[in-house]
């Protein structure tokens, strides 16, 4: 569905991505992991058009995306949830959600989308009239995600969706993502919680220093011991025991 070939992109003169090729297949969840500063967010940005790629090609359903402004790309059915919860702070929660349905052909289904999103995040329903900027960090994250779902996208780019969310809620979100995915939503997921990302995705890419150093089926990568130690981290002393005790 989405295909990147040898994409080079960056800010000013500095290239952050250096010849990245990647594919997100229709109906799949594709995970993108890697250390801080690897260029994961930059990659998502170059897909959604907020960073202009310098070389290479990006195609969505066979249509080239390079050179298109972000709003055009959005109207093709690609939603991008940025890192850092960029909600419209001085607008109400409801208005934020309605903004998700800004595109003309999405406006017809506002009611259903709204019901779906508030079903997913009941907290948002309680806070419909609250100013988005006064929500707690996690609430804002829910709103950002909900707003993107209001777009009814075909492909959603998620930049660390679990950041700042309580564990219980992370579970909820991931199971909803799974459901959505089963209903046909294609997902490209950037996540620091590598174990979780690999568990829920079908395919995964590991990005380091702007290059793809590893790719394959998520399940395979999850059991690769080299990757496990580098990206999942060795358990800290006592950690295992504590966690086991607490469960």
């Amino acid at each position: 569905m989405l295909e990147l070939k040898q994409v080079t992109a960056g800010y000013g003169k500095i290239d952050v991505l250096r010849g990245v090729s990647l594919e997100a297949r229709a109906g799949e969840i594709t995970a993108l992991v890697g250390p801080n500063g690897a260029g994961k967010s930059t990659l998502l940005r170059s897909i959604s058009g907020t960073v202009v790629s310098a070389a290479g090609s990006i195609t969505f359903k066979g249509i080239p995306l390079s050179g298109r402004p972000p709003h055009k790309i959005a109207s093709m059915g690609i939603a991008h949830v940025q890192e850092g919860r960029m909600v419209f702070g001085s607008m109400s929660v409801e208005e934020n959600l309605l903004m998700g349905a800004y595109l003309k052909d999405r406006r017809g289904k506002i009611k259903e989308s709204m019901a779906f999103v508030t079903g997913l995040f009941p907290r948002l329903r309680e806070r419909m009239r609250q100013q988005a900027g006064t929500l707690s960090g996690g609430e804002q994250q829910m709103l950002a995600l909900g707003r993107a779902l209001m777009m009814r996208p075909e492909l959603i780019l998620l930049d660390e969706p679990s950041l700042g969310l309580a564990p219980l809620l992370v579970d909820t979100i991931y199971s909803s993502l799974e459901t959505l995915n089963r209903e046909g939503l294609t997902i490209l997921l950037v996540e620091q919680n590598v174990r979780r990302a690999l568990t829920y995705s079908q395919r995964a890419y590991v990005l380091e220093n702007g290059e793809v150093i590893l790719q394959g089926r998520s399940a395979d990568i999850l059991v690769d011991s080299a990757v496990t130690s580098a990206y999942l981290g060795v358990p800290l002393e006592g950690e295992d025991r504590l966690i086991r005790q607490s469960l």
Partner: protein
């Protein structure tokens, strides 16, 4: 000995009670972990302790004195230093300059630069010293937030989700670093959703829910509680 005692603190926003008659205490040289569902009032707690929000009722005792009337910068000078959940770097300054700001309050420029450099090294920011802060990725910003707060010579450090967004290769050294800080006598209040870090760091754990204290005690005890699991952890959290 308790360094910070929060007594019966309440804070309302319109109809929403962000904190309700909250009692908490942190012992000197210990790490108090604070967890709780989103919107439970954790950030609000940090805001009232550091003076960014006024309490509606209750007392905040620090080192034997009530500080609830002092403005934020005075509290900071008394050693109560925080980080922000959403990083607030000085966008136009470099990483090094960002860290130098609090040091400059006490030292000459040369000395400040020296100290800032060494802090940056310890906080894994050594390669980014001369980058403009606004160009840092999320992970870098989190580190910068922490480094800057540490540079302000805190006696008690209030960390609002310092680990969120950090990759594994950084989280582990940072956890180690925070432990070292505690060993140097620093008191820490750690608000965090990354359970791995909470478990690894907290001496005492407090769980907030709807602005109230749901549980309090040793992490392993607290995390076993059904109420905590239902409200916060869920089942497969690790």
């Amino acid at each position: 000995m308790n360094l910070m005692i929060i007594e019966n603190v309440s804070k309302k926003f319109g109809g929403i009670a962000a904190l309700k008659n909250l009692d908490l205490a942190v012992e000197k040289g210990r790490i108090l972990g604070v967890i709780g569902p989103n919107g439970a009032g954790k950030t609000t707690l940090i805001n009232v302790i550091t003076g960014y929000e006024k309490v509606d009722a209750g007392k905040i005792n620090y080192d034997g004195k009530d500080i609830s009337k002092l403005p934020p910068h005075v509290r900071a000078r008394h050693g109560i230093v925080r980080t922000f959940q959403i990083p607030r770097c000085f966008a136009g300054l470099t990483v090094l300059e960002n860290i130098m700001i609090p040091v400059l309050l006490r030292h000459s420029r040369g000395e400040a630069e020296r100290r800032a450099r060494s802090i940056a090294e310890r906080m894994l920011l050594g390669d980014d010293l001369h980058k403009q802060a606004e160009t840092l990725p999320v992970g870098g910003l989190k580190l910068l937030e922490l480094a800057r707060a540490y540079a302000a010579s805190p006696r008690i450090l209030l960390l609002d989700e310092p680990m969120g967004g950090l990759s594994q290769d950084r989280m582990e050294p940072i956890i180690r670093l925070i432990r070292e800080m505690r060993e140097d006598g620093l008191t820490i209040i750690l608000v965090e959703h990354v359970m791995k870090a909470v478990v690894a760091l907290a001496d005492i754990l407090a769980v907030l829910n709807f602005g109230e204290r749901l549980a309090h005690g040793r992490p392993c005890d607290v995390m076993k509680l059904k109420a905590v699991r239902d409200a916060y952890l869920g089942e497969g959290h690790a």
